[in-house]
């Protein structure tokens, strides 16, 4: 099969696929950075938001942090397996990472259900608007990452395009990074 030139070219010294992922992440930094920067500005300007933040479940947030850190471990171990040419092991580790994504989303859905039942919705006030927007945008990234990982894992199992294991891994670590900042901002600072 003839591969597109961009797939094999590496004009910058970084393989094109990896360079593309870094560009995606550079734009993601601006997206999440802008959102979290705005939240921080408003949070510092509105001390009463601490009383709203008191209603978020710190233990659920901490558990999800544990889940994402662990899924990052399986993602980097998948990359290690791919580097060693072990596609099957890489695929299994990517599936484990997807499992982490699923657990994260289940915990989040229980959390949101409880909060909405208590009357804290996206229209309640500025804090809850930021809370649902930031966590929701992050959740969409988790879903997107899990879908891509399933596709990459299916190919990796056949020993095909193993370099993609690293690429989805880099993206997944970024998703983890964003949560590392969301956790203290939305759950700990009360």
């Amino acid at each position: 099969m003839v591969r597109p030139i961009a797939t094999t070219r590496s004009a910058s010294g970084v393989p094109t696929g990896r360079l593309a992922v870094w560009w995606v992440l550079a734009s993601e930094i601006v997206i999440f950075g802008g959102l979290l920067g705005s939240y921080l500005l408003h949070r510092l300007g509105h001390p009463e938001w601490a009383t709203y933040a008191a209603h978020t479940n710190t233990w659920a947030g901490a558990f999800n942090t544990f889940v994402l850190l662990t899924s990052s471990l399986s993602a980097v171990l998948a990359h290690q397996a791919a580097e060693q040419g072990n596609g099957k092991k890489a695929a299994n580790l990517l599936l484990a990472t997807c499992g982490g994504a699923l657990v994260f989303l289940i915990v989040k859905s229980f959390e949101w259900t409880h909060e909405i039942q208590l009357g804290y919705t996206i229209t309640s006030n500025g804090f809850w608007a930021f809370y649902y927007l930031a966590a929701g945008l992050h959740g969409l990234h988790v879903i997107a990452g899990a879908i891509i990982m399933l596709i990459v894992a299916a190919d990796a199992r056949k020993g095909k395009d193993l370099q993609r294991v690293e690429l989805i891994g880099i993206y997944w670590h970024f998703v983890d990074l964003v949560w590392i900042f969301l956790f203290p901002l939305l759950y700990i600072a009360k």
């Binding site: 500005l41 408003h42 509105h46 471990l73 980097v76 309640s124 500025g126 990074l177 900042f181």
Partner: protein, 140 residues
């Protein structure tokens, strides 16, 4: 003889091969210890300790993930510079807008709505006709 393209691929593989000498389980263990500290610190109820353990440790965790899991320590320098410029832009955005958003008055302006939202007992009709509860005015 390798082409420039394949050479750079080889370079990438060699560098990333070196990365795999890292003990990832150990790095993960350190991250979990930091997570525990970020949970325990705020329980003490001391503001400085909360800031250091929650946000200071978040920065340390982010650094560890970026360095060891994303392998930024062995990535080409221009990639790190690209990401740093984006982060710098966000800091600039924060610093440039902070005076307007976080303060409620300046030399030639006042933001009564935000001010009143911070003082729930203040009469809301003074906030430019906003009758909403403080909670609704909080984000204004």
């Amino acid at each position: 003889m390798s082409t420039p393209s394949s050479h750079s691929h080889e370079h990438g593989h060699e560098a990333h091969g070196e990365a795999h000498h890292t003990n990832y389980v150990k790095v993960w263990g350190i991250l979990l210890v930091l997570l525990a500290i970020s949970l325990i610190g705020p329980e003490l109820g001391i503001r400085v300790v909360t800031l250091l353990t929650a946000f200071g440790i978040a920065l340390v965790k982010a650094y560890i993930v970026a360095k060891y899991f994303m392998h930024l320590n062995i990535e080409r320098r221009f990639v790190v510079q690209l990401l740093t410029v984006c982060l710098g832009l966000m800091v600039l955005f924060f610093l440039a807008t902070a005076p307007d958003v976080m303060k409620h008055w300046g030399m030639n302006w006042r933001n009564d709505s935000a001010k009143n939202a911070n003082i729930p007992e203040a009469p809301h009709h003074e906030a430019g006709g906003h009758e909403a509860a403080p909670a609704h005015g909080a984000g204004e």
